[in-house]
């Protein structure tokens, strides 16, 4: 899941290790941009059609457009040009909206980030609740069942059910996307449920594993209650192992936002991605690819660094791996 550049070689030099990892990050983003760039050339049809939309223009104008957008250059020149601009932070210009891709993405970034952040909070709370529920002997099968259903339900269907129950049925939440916080709750819960199921499974496994460790006997011998043992001691161990899931969670939330934003008719990155793909707006699709790869590798870098802080055993283990 993570890049392991220089982990063994540079284990005694944290600076070198960080440098190696940053290099790995750049490699992933470059690879994603490259694969995306060439793969999206495979889209059948003339990009000029995507540029002019539904109107029809003469062959001469077509050639002019091709010239203006650099589409007449050899593929390699286009590729190197794209990379050159990418390094400077320029993601190109949208075919459809005729505005910089960075602006298109930037405008739709806040609603998606709001949605994802709230969903992450909900997911962690739900997972914690379910994991603690799973500690009781009687309630453990219930927690297992809840997890299984949460992980297995398509999130767009959960959204539809929540809308019909809490929107149309009980009238607690607005059915259409409005500016208020209330309109954010159902989409966030929808997005959170499948992720919560996964985190809960990992947390419960972590709690099980932690309970087998010798320090548990010490804590018990000191007369600590079971609740205290879980909350103060084993949960910490379990939480540490769940942190490795962060990368997966961000990816899952990002992918899920496409569906959830469609279900709730909300603006956001997911909708931008979907529309760009339907409209064959190559620069926007490529921009989202690059953004996703950058986000993924940043999250992983962050997880690796945090993880070593939380669990020093790991750094040593890797050094001798």
């Amino acid at each position: 899941m993570t890049l392991h550049y220089g982990q063994v070689r540079g284990a005694d030099r944290p600076g070198a290790r960080l440098f190696g990892r940053l290099g790995g990050m750049v490699l992933v983003v470059w690879g994603a941009a490259t694969v995306g760039f060439f793969a999206l050339r495979l889209i059948p049809g003339d990009p000029v059609d995507a540029l002019i939309g539904l109107g029809s223009v003469s062959a001469q104008v077509r050639d002019q457009i091709r010239e203006d957008w650099g589409l007449a250059d050899p593929l390699l020149v286009q590729y190197l040009g794209y990379l050159g601009r990418l390094v400077q932070g320029d993601l190109g210009t949208s075919y459809r909206r005729q505005q910089p891709v960075a602006d298109v993405i930037g405008q739709q970034f806040p609603p998606t980030v709001q949605l994802m952040s709230l969903a992450l909070v909900f997911a962690l709370l739900l997972a914690l609740g379910s994991a603690l529920l799973g500690r009781g002997r009687r309630t453990a099968p219930l927690a297992g069942l809840l997890e299984l259903v949460a992980v297995s339900s398509p999130n767009f269907w959960i959204g539809l059910v929540l809308i019909s129950v809490f929107g149309f049925g009980l009238g607690w939440f607005p059915v259409v996307a409005t500016a208020g916080f209330g309109a954010l709750i159902l989409p966030a819960v929808t997005l959170a449920i499948p992720v919560a199921g996964i985190i809960s499974q990992v947390l419960r496994q972590g709690l099980d594993d932690a309970e087998a460790l010798p320090f548990v006997d010490t804590v018990r011998a000191r007369g600590a209650s079971h609740t205290r043992l879980v909350l103060r001691h084993t949960l910490r161990h379990a939480a540490a192992s769940s942190i490795t899931l962060t990368g997966y969670m961000v990816g899952s939330l990002l992918g899920g936002s496409v569906l959830v934003e469609t279900v709730f008719a909300r603006p956001g990155l997911g909708r931008v991605a979907l529309n760009a793909i339907v409209d064959r707006d190559v620069p926007v699709v490529l921009g989202i690819i690059v953004l996703a790869a950058a986000a993924f590798s940043m999250v992983n870098l962050f997880v690796d660094l945090v993880f070593e802080r939380i669990d020093p055993r790991l750094a040593t283990e890797q050094a001798y791996a």
Partner: protein
């Protein structure tokens, strides 16, 4: 989604066998409904009848009727063939391709392995759903592209597991023994390494079928799969979305069937995982 494969194994063994049987039974019913839909319903999934539009679930229509008066139960039954075809088809493609790529990466020397591993890592940097969307952008919407998109999106996960398995197994004593006895490297790989890699991949694939069905339904919910009035589950859900206020049953029942399908494949997959883990010990 591949994280399902990492599901805790200790708890699974406590899973009651009746649940596994129920899961197998449900999946068999589903396969039967895909092959012989006429056994389950006499209604035609495509026949419209405006006089009976948006009827609530009742004796004549167990899942109610949709905006065009079509029987939702019949549409769900006939829809199982699309979802199952895509779920099984995509998983099979991903399994075969992942096995091929992964075992090559595990077998070749350092440089080749490095390149393949990096490539897998780069592809895995994308959320699977985004990957599937991109594939659809390239090959265009439709049933066949749905299958390819879902398959391509999960190949890296299978390849990664196959690679790790291959790395472990090629060092195993029995492979060394076979080589010492004069078995050629190619034969040793085909006879010993690949079959032993297949086990964990098959467990992964069992759970993968459910994931693939969800992903395909999601893509077709977005309008990237079959065209209406095809009775495909994701498509029925997207039609039902417009009638949530008046007719919840159009969206709720197909989703319930999708969820039950995925729950069943997960239960079966975990059971197989627990069994294979037991054998290894």
């Amino acid at each position: 989604m591949s994280l399902l494969a990492a599901a805790p194994s200790r708890r699974i063994k406590r899973m009651p066998t009746p649940a596994v049987w129920a899961a197998v039974g449900f999946l068999l019913l589903l396969v039967l409904s895909a092959l012989l839909p006429g056994v389950f319903t006499a209604a035609d999934p495509l026949r419209t009848n405006i006089g009976e539009a948006l009827l609530a679930p009742g004796p004549g229509h167990p899942f109610g009727t949709d905006q065009a008066g079509r029987d939702v139960f019949a549409r769900v039954i006939y829809g199982s063939r699309y979802s199952l075809a895509i779920g099984f088809g995509a998983t099979l493609i991903a399994l075969v391709a992942g096995l091929a790529i992964g075992s090559c990466a595990g077998l070749v020397r350092r440089v080749g392995d490095g390149v393949l591993s990096r490539a897998i890592e780069i592809v895995m940097a994308f959320p699977e759903f985004l990957l599937a969307l991109i594939v659809i952008a390239i090959i265009g919407p439709g049933e066949a592209s749905l299958l390819m998109a879902v398959a391509l999106a999960v190949i890296p996960s299978y390849a990664r597991v196959a690679r790790v398995q291959t790395l472990v197994i090629k060092r195993a004593g029995y492979v060394e023994a076979a080589r010492t006895l004069g078995v050629s490297p190619a034969l040793a790989v085909l006879r010993h390494v690949v079959p032993n890699t297949l086990g964990p991949l098959l467990v992964m694939a069992t759970m993968g079928v459910g994931t693939a069905i969800t992903a395909a339904a999601g893509l077709s919910f977005l309008g990237l799969g079959p065209k209406p009035p095809t009775p495909e589950w994701g498509l029925i859900l997207s039609e039902g979305r417009n009638f949530l206020a008046s007719a919840w049953w159009i969206a709720v029942f197909p989703g319930l069937v999708i969820t039950s399908t995925v729950v069943s494949t997960s239960i079966l997959g975990r059971h197989l995982q627990a069994r294979s883990a037991g054998r290894q010990r």
